[in-house]
């Protein structure tokens, strides 16, 4: 009945099976008296990394350039999902690579967190290829459930517990809003499939007080608000700094990297493909401006590293929404490029934060004189910070430039103006890192332990990509153009 569908879903099936096997392996051997109750978290994370890599191969080996609707149109596979899934899996793999050392030092004997990371990766794969409101909601919920658990995974830290609770309450609230939006849409149209919705909404003009249905307007509004909660755009961002700060660092890294890709992919699918209309674009226009301004201003007052990175990610969501609120092909393409480069830079920063964390690296001031104690790491961090800030020859500049270019191309001059201004403001706090590392003499010198090989490789690769992106950007531009085309055509 569904033979071809199962073939097309082979990567997901593989990943689920691998997760299950890892779960059983972990629980059987970590409770075995014969082996003296070994902490299996390192083994399980290496095996998890291996299974993510195999999943990348499986996704990549399926032929692109085909469009397939699976399981009664519940899932779709096309160019967009193909590249998004590969990208998501790569970012998950690099998160696991980052936290290998963390597990070793932290004597944290919870292999379940790796199992949960794999499960949430799988649900994010489904999220990217979801083609129906129900499938979308189920995938989002599976992902969020895994996240609630790993946010609260450090039981002896009250920050982690608080973060988990906050994340759970606000996540459940936003899921409720999203679900209410979905049911409004279903109630007023009678369909949940994205393709059917796209057919209904072509030339529809969703206005609140116009002649058209206000129920559909409310539905789209609620879905948008639910998504904005999930992606931490500004009026709905309040949970992000606390959760980012409270959760264990590797969890923060995972939160700020992987779900951004999948939720943005899902949002683009819903709002560009199904509900394409200028009305909701005003909403994203507003959120984009607000996120950029808040990200720039609030991060200035932060002293803690993870909190600062949370605000910086809020600001970056604002920049990404520039591409979204244009709604043109260039806009979508620039959004995708922006996501790619943002994830690249975030992987780099969090690898550094995780490498420095042995001495409770919590405040920015702890970086003092890093240029003397570890000059190469200091250079890496400065280059990444310059790239975040958007200093010319680096990757971050290219992404922001292309986003502003797309905004100018579709006539959103205000967006481009505010984007440039906030990006100049945010230079202040990104460059503060560099100032602290190179010019401050701290009261007490902190010597950090050397990082492990996996993290240094990851840092080297991402740093290379960040600094030499401008020499050969065409592959990324081609791929993102292909993705945008497959979505819009």
């Amino acid at each position: 009945m569904f033979e071809h569908d199962f073939l097309a879903l082979f990567p997901e099936i593989f990943l689920i099976n691998a997760t299950i096997i890892l779960l059983i392996y972990g629980v059987v051997f970590s409770t075995s008296k014969k082996y003296d109750y070994p902490p299996l978290v390192c083994n399980v994370s290496w095996l998890g990394l291996l299974s993510v890599l195999i999943t990348i191969l499986l996704v990549a080996s399926s032929t692109p350039l085909t469009v397939a609707n699976l399981f009664y149109n519940n899932l779709i596979i096309d160019n967009f999902t193909y590249f998004c899934q590969i990208f998501l899996l790569i970012s998950t793999a690099s998160t696991i690579v980052m936290c290998l050392g963390y597990f070793k030092e932290e004597s944290l004997n919870a292999f379940e967190s790796i199992v949960l990371i794999l499960l949430s990766t799988c649900s994010m794969l489904f999220m990217i290829s979801a083609y129906d409101l129900i499938a979308m909601y189920l995938a989002i919920e599976l992902q969020s459930l895994c996240f609630y658990v790993i946010a609260a995974s450090k039981r002896d830290s009250e920050f982690s517990t608080e973060a988990g609770l906050k994340y759970f309450i606000l996540g459940a609230f936003s899921s409720g809003i999203l679900l209410f939006g979905c049911s409004m849409i279903y109630g007023f149209t009678g369909v949940t499939n994205f393709e059917e919705l796209a057919k209904i909404f072509t030339g529809y003009e969703i206005t609140l007080f116009g002649a058209q249905s206000s129920g559909i307007f409310m539905g789209i509004l609620f879905i948008a608000v639910g998504f904005l909660f999930k992606i931490t755009a500004v009026p709905f961002h309040m949970w992000a700094p606390d959760v980012y700060e409270g959760s264990p660092t590797l969890v923060t890294a995972f939160f700020s990297i992987a779900p951004k890709i999948s939720i943005l992919a899902n949002m683009v699918r819903v709002f560009i493909y199904s509900f394409y209309d200028p009305t909701w674009q005003q909403l994203f226009f507003f959120c984009s401006i607000a996120s950029m301004i808040l990200g720039a201003l609030a991060a200035m007052a932060q002293n803690k590293v993870k909190r600062l990175l949370a605000y910086s990610s809020i600001g970056h969501v604002g920049y990404l929404f520039i591409g979204f609120s244009c709604g043109t092909i260039e806009g979508i393409q620039s959004l995708l490029i922006g996501v790619f480069i943002y994830v690249l830079m975030t992987i780099n920063v969090f690898a550094i934060v995780l490498a420095l964390r042995q001495n409770r690296f919590k405040y920015i001031a702890d970086l003092g004189a890093l240029a003397k104690t570890n000059p190469i790491l200091a250079i890496t961090l400065s280059i990444t910070m310059f790239s975040y800030a958007g200093i010319p020859p680096l990757a971050g500049f290219c992404s922001k430039f292309y986003l502003f270019f797309a905004a100018l191309g579709c006539g959103a001059y205000l967006l481009a103006l505010i984007g440039v201004v906030t990006s100049v403001i945010s230079c202040f706090y990104y460059i503060r890192f560099v100032k602290i590392m190179y010019f401050d003499t701290p009261k007490k010198w902190i010597l950090y332990k050397a990082m492990d090989r996996e993290k240094s490789l990851l840092l080297a690769i991402t740093l290379f990509l960040i600094s030499f992106f401008f020499l050969y950007p065409s592959p990324l531009f081609l791929v993102s153009h292909q993705m945008a085309l497959s979505l819009c055509l």
Binding site: M1, I20, L23, I24, V27, V28, T31
Partner: protein
């Protein structure tokens, strides 16, 4: 429509139980015979040794969460069991996969020791 007798039944049984409770008040010899000794907590004849508040055992939560999970499993099993002759082998195996995943969760709990009570 078949819920109407059940509603009537609920009301009648509520009335009946109220009557059963009330009758003992009617025939009690001295209704206001409560005095402090009679109202004190019964702890095998002694005065209570320590505070009534004790730490709540986490195992109760575990058991209730497990109950919720497997209760949900049963709700999925009902429609499957009723329509088994219509859905064929494919429906059968779909449910088997669902059950397998739940069984793996159960195995995890078992090995983790969530089901041990001492």
């Amino acid at each position: 429509m078949e819920f109407a007798p059940i509603c009537v039944y609920l009301v009648i049984s509520l009335l009946f139980s109220l009557i059963l409770i009330g009758v003992s008040f009617l025939f009690a010899s001295s209704p206001n015979s409560a005095y402090p000794e009679k109202l004190s907590a019964y702890e095998c004849g002694f005065d209570p040794f320590d505070d009534a508040r004790s730490r709540f055992d986490i195992r109760f939560y575990l058991v209730s969460i497990l109950f919720i999970i497997f209760d949900l499993e049963v709700t999925f099993l009902f429609p499957w069991a009723v329509s088994l002759n219509k859905i064929g082998l494919f429906g059968f195996w779909s449910m088997i996969i669902f059950l397998l995943i739940l069984t793996i969760g159960f195995l995890y709990e078992w090995k983790k020791g969530a089901l041990d009570w001492e």
